[in-house]
């Protein structure tokens, strides 16, 4: 256990070393930690504070301001469904039901295997093709219940391929 924490701390220091120590480096650092570890825990906040000199309160404020930064561990794939007007009117609620049923979790939760997290997001600029969602950095528009199932299956499949190493479809 201690060894694990030690390793995580070393990794964190490796991440930090890539950046400058100015106030303006704070956000890039947080984005990178969030990307690398999937979240920014209390220990990381203290280390970032030590590194940049920015007080922990301000760092915490920045993390809570940006919804893409989080203190809670998220799944490997974070699904962010747009909840803004265009997507809402185009049938967002139906997509909510499919996502929750397919993954067996509610919005705001992460699957037990640590694979998927469900979240809402405000407008992601896909109003021309609603309803829309993001999976990590990739946007998916024109969602229908069928298409959502397909997309989820493709992610699950690729993940199992990674895990068990058997031949892929593509």
């Amino acid at each position: 256990m201690t060894a694990g924490i030690r390793a995580a701390t070393d990794e964190l220091q490796d991440v930090l070393r890539k950046f400058g120590k100015n106030r303006t480096d704070l956000l890039p650092i947080l984005v990178e930690i969030n990307r690398y570890f999937g979240h920014i825990d209390s220990n990381s906040i203290i280390e970032v504070s030590r590194y940049t000199g920015v007080p922990i309160g301000e760092i915490h404020g920045v993390i809570t301001f940006y919804s893409f930064l989080g203190q809670k561990k998220r799944g490997r794939f974070v699904i962010r469904l747009c909840r803004t007007i265009s997507c809402d009117m185009a049938g967002k609620d139906q997509i909510v039901r499919v996502l929750e049923k397919e993954l067996g979790i509610c919005f705001g939760e992460t699957t037990d295997d640590g694979m998927f997290s469900l979240e809402y997001t405000n407008c992601i600029g896909m109003c021309n093709n609603p309803p829309a969602m993001l999976i990590n950095d990739k946007a998916y528009g024109g969602l229908t219940p069928e298409r959502v199932v397909e997309i989820l299956d493709s992610f699950k499949l690729s993940e199992y391929q990674d895990m068990f190493g058997y031949g892929g479809v593509e």
Binding site: S42, I46, S49, P55, I56, G57, E58, H60, G61, T64, F65, S67
Partner: protein, 599 residues
Amino acid sequence: MSEMISVRIDDISCEVEKGTTILQACKSAGLRIPTLCYHPDLEVAGICRICVVEVEGMSGLQAACAFPIRQPITVRTNSPRIRRARRVNLDLILSEHYGDCYTCVRNGSCELQALAREYGVDRYRYPSTTAPKFRIDRSTAIVRDQNKCISCKRCIRTCIDLQQVSALETANRGHDVLIQTAFDKPISEVVCINCGQCINRCPTGALRSNMPNELLWHVIDDPEKHVIIQTAPSPRAAIGEEFGYEPGTSVTGKLNAALRRLGFDNVFDTNFAADLTIMEEGTELLTRLKKVLVDGDSSVRVPMFTSCSPGWVKYVEHYYPEYLDYLSTCKSPQQMFGALLKTYYAKKTGIDPEKMVVVALMPCVAKKFECNRPEMSDSGYKDVDFGLTTREMAVMIKEAGIHLKDMPDEDFDHPLGLGSGAGLIFGATGGVMEAAIRSVYEIVTGRPVPFKGLDVTPVRGMEGIRDAALTIENPLPEYQWLDGVTLKVAVAHGTANAKILMEKLKEGRLDYHFIEVMACPGGCLGGGGQPIPTSPEIRAARARAIYSEDHELTVRKSHENPEINQLYAEFLGKPLGQLSHKLLHTRYTPRGRFFTEGF
């Protein structure tokens, strides 16, 4: 001279400097724009939208506080649209604010209440908050009631920008925004230095000091107790504001009379202890300098920083714990006085120190924390029992039905009631330094300071950091080692300015011998316990009151205070002597800048 731009506001035409905000332009034209999140000491935020005005040619309403004038414009400050918008914004703010006015310490000085009155609010137009959402968070010094918070972020701008303490943070975004301590920890566990500047700038009662009034009444009403009050110079120069005097009116004599009628058994002058501080701190400075300059002792730290400001002391404990050796070991005047009252004065008068209650009237919220520090009990008892702020004392005086304006002028009790002008000016930034220079220079050379009327003007003023140098020539025989030495001193007020000095110290670029730091802007007279509101003008007026009172005194140097000399002769022996060490000096606690108790 920068570019002038012509502006038309309502029916008034005027010229303003380029970059002036509409709010400033209106003020100079004699027009009043209501504001809420705006504060003259703080960065502009433009959050509350109460100060909205119409600018011809622009479709939306503009926040007057956040609109710099760059070209000729025509502004309207009163129209149906403006009044409606302000009223809606006010109604929305009120719907989020929870708390009854008559159970609030800010009743009468609340800016939200004043606006509601101004706009004729007679009901909640939007559903109001009917139950508290947050628990009240209190430390020994500060109370936070987030239910009353309207998210104007004045406290944030105070804590992060003005003071650079960062005990408070803004969490979340938009409607979910919360003003809270770092990680929402109790305020007693975060890096709060108790300066109370946030209290002075909070428009509502969301931030306030921890009032000991009820407990204090209980003690005053107890005939068994001998209740002593010591008053600091800054409350005396400011408490008048609570009773209708103009800022900058010193009411020392009247306050003494009021305090006696309130039931205090003795009224003493903290300036006396300030003089004592100068004796101890001055001697400590000379001792340190000799060790460094003559003995080459590398374990002794120079520059020496003053330690009178408990906010500053806690700031160093949090942010620069490895530099605590640079602080003078002297207790603040408040604590020195408490330790002496329960030893020297108790012995002299035969009063049982067990039954003695020492109250300190201070401009300061951090003094509450200071008097509750566990190490502050060198007399064998709690040296100072209560730290009371100027505002809290004003409440007690009003509660007792005393009209301050009608009070006669009365003197302090003696001994321990005589303070020199040097002790008095402790209240203003630069005052401790000036007092120290007046005494140290004269002790070393046998001559008064080479400044007209003893006014060491280079260390006065309101600039954030000031410095001065004084070359010692022809010193007395015992101080020959200082001959030709140029003593360099600096003064900083507000912890943000102190931080600049500390960062230089860290880099080894701080070339001074003695530095005065006060945690609050303006020094004690701008303290967190002083009357609300505060502004640069109000603080300057209080400083004028203090400096003019200094001129009226006959004793203006600490070392010439006869009661101080009597104290050393009868009790303490000599400065930095064994008894001084026990009663008047202290040690500090490295705290670090994260949490006091971990996550």
